[in-house]
């Protein structure tokens, strides 16, 4: 039996102390900052929701929010479908050297986003990249991935590379715990591979896929490292309001606009929670 006493608090308290300091306090402080404005003359004054109405009308903020929304709608499905296909392929038991595939495809997860972005950025680039060689060899003109109209897709490729293996491992782990007797029963019924995938495996993956989708949505909305690092290689294609996080960072560090920066962070946090909630609600309704 679990023990009913106050001693549990002694185990939980250290975590909660840090939690209060780096989770609750920053959120509370940002909410507080977002209600004030500091001017060079006149000092700090309470402005109510004025910062929020400024954000609502801020084209740079909406440009950033729109960009990550587009990113989310395109990149997340591509990445998750790829992860699902690889997980199904490895779980099928029909691959030669399947554990080698599993480990190798997961490896990019261990690579820091800085390094991943630099590698891909260099390969995209004209200096020592691969594109110019491909053009020369095949006598073609490939589009420049670092051009302003393609750079978002170029970033999508980098994040797909980083996280496809991680999602694959999560899905694969869920497939491994499917009761083997289900497969035996399916085989007796004469069900083929695709029928087994549709009737047994995909339903088993519903929960893990929802989790993976939620984490990917959150990750897309919070996109930061890849554009910041890629900007050193393609400064003209990536503006300082490329993503909401980038914008908030620029406002606080570059512009010293702490109050407005806090507002942008709060609005984006709320938008992320809203979208995550809608996806979850939809998924749950479908399941019922």
């Amino acid at each position: 039996m679990t023990r009913r006493s106050w001693i549990g608090w002694q185990f939980v308290a250290p975590f909660l102390a840090v939690f209060a300091l780096v989770f609750l306090a920053p959120i509370a402080y940002s909410l507080y900052l977002s209600l004030y404005r500091t001017r060079l003359i006149g000092g700090t004054s309470f402005v109510g929701l004025e910062n929020y109405s400024k954000a609502v009308e801020d084209p740079q903020f909406w440009s950033a929010a729109g960009r990550v929304s587009l990113f989310l709608v395109v990149q997340v499905p591509i990445m998750l479908v790829l992860a699902l296909l690889v997980a199904l392929a490895i779980d099928s038991g029909r691959l030669y050297g399947s554990s080698f595939f599993r480990i190798s495809i997961f490896l990019p997860y261990a690579v820091p986003a800085v390094v991943a972005t630099l590698m891909w950025g260099f390969m995209y680039g004209s200096q020592f990249g691969l594109i110019s060689y491909l053009n020369d060899w095949f006598g073609i003109t490939l589009p420049d991935p670092l051009a302003p109209n393609l750079v978002l897709a170029a970033i999508g490729n980098i994040t797909t590379w980083e996280f496809v293996g991680y999602n694959m491992i999560i899905l694969y782990a869920a497939l491994r715990v499917v009761d083997p007797s289900l497969y035996e029963a399916a085989a007796i019924d004469g069900a083929g591979q695709f029928r087994i995938i549709r009737a047994i495996k995909l339903p088993a993956l519903r929960g893990p896929l929802l989790i993976a989708t939620l984490f990917s949505i959150i990750g897309s909305f919070q996109l930061f490292t890849e554009p910041v690092v890629l900007r050193t290689i393609a400064p003209n294609a990536i503006l300082t309001y490329f993503t909401p996080n980038y914008y908030a960072w620029q406002l606080s560090v570059g512009g010293q606009q702490f109050n407005y920066s806090a507002t942008v962070a709060v609005v984006m946090g709320l938008l992320t929670m809203l979208v995550a909630y809608l996806v979850q609600a939809r998924a749950v309704r479908k399941a019922v």
Partner: protein, 302 residues
Amino acid sequence: MVSAPTIRPQARRRAQPVAAPRKRTRSWSLTAVTTVMLIYTLLPLAWLFISATKTQDNLLGSFGLWFHGEFALFDNIGKTFTYQNGIYLRWLGNTVFYVVIGAGGATLLSTLAGYGLAKFAFPGRKAVFAVILGAVAVPPTALAVPTFLLFAKAGITDTVWAVIIPSLMVPFSLYLMWTFSRDAVPDEILESARVDGAGEFRIFFKLAVPLLSPGLVTALLFNVVVTWNNLFLPLIMLRDRNLYPITLGIYSWNQQAQTVGGDVVFNLVITGSLLAIVPLIAAFLLLQRYWQSGLAVGSVKQ
């Protein structure tokens, strides 16, 4: 609402051998298709290794996926460690420091808390649990700017604490340890130790921690990855180059090389990147057995 995962670690270990003898004919065509994905995954890593063997001059004029000219890998490694008075080594040391204190501390805190939540019915437990589960969905990057604003007010930006304190809290790691504590530590063992008069913390360290070790290794490994690979937090918090972790250092070298008039050291950016990923890749390869089962437990949550 989140309910308990239905699959326990012990149950899985028994299930594995049953699942194994699913005999099916292997398929070359499926292997070939999946190999396309494998090439996509390994191509940039091959590029990184090959490029790290080239001198700065050869880097510019040669095809990225094949060796060219002098094999300069060891020369590059030597330069990486000596450039700018050996600051790379200092950055590496900083990263190790942040990882040991930050990721180590995060693992300790979440193991204590996960065990506390799983094994004690203390007043207010449900509330604590609800708050922390809500926090799992909030990514660290969303908190970075607010935390920076708070720390700037408190005057602790540009110190090691600005990097370490936020990395101490990983709600997902707590979730993992809660699951493991519930499933891998039998209540009977704890009860008999209590009857023998052992204190709760002694019971935790002597009895529970050894039973929790597979989960601990998983949580630790993932906390290490998050801390080792983090750029946003140090970028936003630190100004002093001597406090940089390796990720921020590589970023600053690349920035310098891209700046007009800056010292062009792409060979060091590339070699520094290669050296920075070797320890983590090695850890994942060596600890496969642990993290794969650990992730499995984490993923069946719902």
